[in-house]
Subunit: 443 residues, 2 copies
C-alpha cells in the first residue's frame, strides 16, 4: 500500500508533494512491515454513530463511579501534586506494586512487589518483553488466532510468529509439541510461547485446567519461556477465576496484567510480573522506552484501589458483560444464516465466528459497513494468512439493544453475501499487505 490510501489525510489537504515519502530509503527493515491497512480506512467510517461496531475492544466504562473518582483525583493532586506530577522510576510506584500483588493474589498468584514492573498498559509490557528477548528471526509461538497488538509488537522486533492451534479447550498441547518440533527441525530459535489462557482475545475460549500443567511442562522441557497475558482473568461471568499459568510455575512464566479491563483503559496502567533477573532487564529496557510510566496514573489507580470497592466494581463489570454476551449469543442464534458457527465464551469480551465456505470476511467488511455494522475480520489475528472465514465480534462496548441490532444487520449482510457467492462464485479481493486490523483495542 502506498501512502495515498491513508484515510485521515486526503491529498488535497497537504498537496501532492507531501504524499511522496522522501524518507522512504531511510527506514529500518522492521518498518517495511508497518503498513496501514485498507481496513483502517473502513474504521473511520465504522466509527460513525449510525454504525454498530462489534469490532473494537473498548471496555464499557459507564458503570464507573466518576463523581467520587473525580473527588479522589482532585484531592490527590491538591495534596500530593508535587509527587504525582513528577518523574518516577521505571520500575513503578512501590505502593501500587504492592497492591498489584494483592490483585494477583485473587487469582492465586503469590508474588513479591519487587518482581512487578508497572507499564504503560500491558501493550508496553508485551513490547518490553519482546525487546529484551527477541532478535530478528527468533520465533514466538502464539495461539492461532492471537491478539493483534501482540502480533504488532512481535513484528516490530522482526520475530517470526508460529501459530499453535486452539480448540474449545484452548491451546492444544499436541499442536504445541508439533510446532516446537517443526521449528526446531528447521533450526529455528524459539524464544517464548505467548498465550492468553483465560477468555482468549480473539478466540473467546479458555485453556482447560488439565492442559495448563501440560503446556507448562512442554515449555519447561524444551527450554521455552511462557509469556502469559491475562487482561480478562477476573472477568469470568460466573465469578470463576481460573488459575493463571504463573500460579503454577513462578520460574518460567512472565505474567502480564492490566487495569484496562477492570478499571480504566485510558489511564494506561498495566504491569509485568517476571522472575527477578528478567524484571531487572525489563526496567532497563523501559527506561529507554518511556523513562517511567506516568506517576499520576499510577497514584490514581493506587488511590482507587484504596478508596473504592474495586472488587464490587469488577463484579459489576462482569455482570454487565455477561448480559451483553447473552444478548449477542441469543441474537446470533436467532439471526445468523445456516452454516455459521461460534463459541460460547464464559468470560471476556469476544465471540469468534466462522462463516460458511466461500465467504471472505475481509472482502465482506465494506459491505457490512454499508449495512451499518462493523466487525474485526479474522485475518488480522494471524500472521500466516489464515482467518478469512473468521471474524471477531465484541460484545463489550455496545448496549445489548445495539448488539442485537448489529447482529441482525450482520446476519443480513452474510445472507446477501452468500447469495452473491452462489451467483458469482467466491468474490476475489485485492491483497493488502501489513496488519489487517486497526489499532487493536481502540477501533
Amino acid at each position: 500500500m502506498s501512502d495515498e490510501h491513508q484515510p485521515t489525510t486526503p491529498p488535497e489537504k497537504h498537496g501532492p508533494a507531501r504524499n511522496l515519502d522522501a524518507h522512504r530509503a531511510r527506514y529500518a527493515q522492521r518498518t517495511a512491515g508497518m503498513t496501514a491497512s485498507e481496513v483502517r480506512a473502513l474504521f473511520a467510517v465504522a466509527n460513525r454513530p449510525e454504525v454498530v461496531s462489534l469490532a473494537g475492544g473498548m471496555p464499557n466504562l459507564a458503570a464507573l463511579p466518576l463523581d467520587s473518582l473525580a473527588g479522589e483525583v482532585a484531592s490527590l493532586i491538591a495534596q500530593d501534586g508535587q509527587g504525582a506530577l513528577q518523574y518516577g522510576s521505571a520500575h513503578g510506584v512501590p505502593e501500587l506494586r504492592e497492591q498489584i500483588c494483592d490483585v494477583m493474589a485473587m487469582e492465586g498468584i503469590s508474588a513479591h512487589p519487587d518482581d512487578v514492573m508497572v507499564t504503560v498498559g500491558s501493550q508496553m509490557a508485551l513490547d518490553m518483553v519482546t525487546r529484551i528477548f527477541c532478535d530478528p528471526g527468533d520465533v514466538v509461538l502464539a495461539e492461532g488466532p492471537s491478539y493483534v497488538g501482540a502480533l504488532g509488537s512481535f513484528s516490530a522486533y522482526q520475530a517470526e510468529v508460529v501459530h499453535v492451534a486452539m480448540d474449545d479447550d484452548g491451546l492444544q498441547p499436541e499442536a504445541l509439541r508439533e510446532a516446537i518440533g517443526n521449528v526446531t527441525a528447521r533450526g529455528g530459535r524459539i524464544k517464548f510461547l505467548y498465550t492468553i489462557p483465560n477468555f482468549h482475545n480473539p478466540g473467546g475460549v479458555t485453556m482447560a485446567l488439565n492442559r495448563r500443567a501440560e503446556v507448562l511442562e512442554i515449555c519447561a522441557q524444551h527450554g521455552i519461556l511462557v509469556v502469559e497475558d491475562n487482561p480478562y482473568g477476573l472477568l469470568g461471568f460466573d465469578g470463576q477465576v481460573y488459575p493463571p499459568l504463573r500460579s503454577l510455575d513462578a520460574d518460567n512464566v512472565v505474567y502480564l496484567g492490566s487495569f484496562s479491563k477492570t478499571f480504566a483503559s485510558g489511564l494506561r496502567v498495566g504491569w509485568v510480573l517476571a522472575p527477578h533477573a528478567v524484571r531487572e532487564k525489563l526496567v532497563l529496557a523501559a527506561e529507554s522506552a518511556t523513562l517511567c510510566p506516568p506517576t499520576l496514573n499510577q497514584m490514581i489507580v493506587s488511590r482507587y484501589l484504596t478508596t473504592h470497592d474495586w472488587k464490587g466494581q469488577i463484579k459489576a463489570f462482569r455482570e454487565q458483560y455477561r448480559e451483553r454476551r447473552d444478548a449477542m449469543l441469543s441474537a446470533l442464534e436467532q439471526h445468523m444464516p445456516e452454516g455459521c458457527t461460534w463459541n460460547t465464551p464464559d468470560g471476556g469480551f469476544f465471540v469468534w465466528v466462522t462463516v460458511p465456505e466461500g465467504i471472505d470476511t475481509k472482502a465482506m467488511l465494506p459491505r457490512a459497513v454499508t449495512q451499518r455494522v462493523a466487525y474485526a475480520s479474522g485475518t488480522g489475528f494471524y500472521t500466516d494468512g489464515f482467518g478469512s472465514r473468521q471474524m471477531r465480534l465484541s460484545f463489550c462496548y455496545p448496549t445489548p439493544e445495539r448488539i442485537r441490532e448489529g447482529v441482525r444487520r450482520l446476519a443480513n449482510t452474510l445472507t446477501e453475501e452468500r447469495e452473491l457467492v452462489r451467483t458469482f462464485g467466491s468474490i476475489p479481493q485485492r491483497e493488502v499487505p501489513g496488519p489487517q486490523a486497526p489499532s487493536p483495542d481502540t477501533a
Copy 2:
C-alpha cells in the same frame, strides 16, 4: 556486572537462587548492553535527604497552581470521564495536537496538527523515531556529550553512536563534516543527526544561529535526517526563544517536544512533529509500543492550556531556574578549586564542568556522596568512554540555598581529591560496562 550488584534487591530478600539468571541464554543481543551501572547503586544513597543532589533533571514543580489544577481535573473526570478514561488513538487527542501547534508557534514553527503525534514523554518519541529508522549497526550522529536517555534508545536498537564535538556555540559544523566523512569512508550508514540545539543536556550550550543553517545544509547535502530534541526551548532565562531547526527546514527535520519541563513531567506527555509520511510510520510504531498515550493525561494538558495562563507559568519557571542558575554560577566562582572550568548556560537546567587533569569524576562520585553531594559523571553522556574529567551539575530541582551548599561540598570533595591525586597519582577504578548514569531525568 553481574546481578549481585543491584542495589534495590539485596540477596537476603530473595534468597541466593534467584540471583542466578536462568533466562540469561534467552536474551536478545541488544539486552547484553542493558546493564545496571554501579552508579545506579550510588543514587539510592544520593536520594537521601541529607545529600544535595545536583545529579537529576527533575523540574521543580513547586510553582504549579495545584489547587486550581485539581479542580480542573476533577471537573474533567466528572464531566468527561467516559472519554478521559477510555482508549484513544495512537496519534493523540486532536484538540491537544492543535494546541501543541500553538505552543510550537511560539518558537516560530508552522505545523499542521495532523503531523504531530503525542507520545508518552519525548523519551517515547525518541524511541519511536529510532524504531522506525535504525537497523542494528546503523549510525546515529549525536553531540558529544549527549542526552543519556537518547543514548539508551539508540543502544536499545543497536545503533552505533558517533559523537560530534561541541564548543560554546554548540555543535561544530566542521566536526560534523568530518564525522560524516569518516563514517562514510568506512561504509557506515548514517540514519540521522540527533541534536539538542537549545540549552543542551548535558552541555548547557546553545547552537549559534549562524551554525543552524549550516548544520541543516550539511545534513541535507549528505541525505541525513535531523532529529531535533527541544525540551528546554522556552526556558531561555531572558525570555529569548531561538529558532528551532524545524522552523528553518520542515522537510528534513523531525522535532521532539515535551510538556515535562514547561508543565508537569509526571504526566508523561510529549510529542513528535514529523514530515507526513514519517508521522504515519510513527503512529503504526506507537500502536505496537503502547497502543495509545494515556487519554486522561492528554486531556489534562489540553485543559491546562485552555484554562491556565501557561505562558505566565513558563515565565515563572524561567525566572525560578534563572535564580538557581545564578546561585550555582556564583557558588562555583566562590568555591571551586583552581583548574575547574564550566560554561554559563542562558537557559535550561544544566552546567557542564571540567575538572583538573588526574581527577576522574566517576571514580570520585562515591567520595562526593560521602560528603553529601551528588552529580552526574560525564562518562554517562558519551558512548566512547570520554567524559571522565567532566560532570553535569543540575540547578533545576534544589533550592538556591541547597545549590550553594552542594557546590561548597563538591568543591571540598574536589580539593581533597586533588590532594589524593597529588599524593598517590591518579586513582584507578574498576571498569563498568553499560550506561554510566541512572535513569536520565529522574535521579
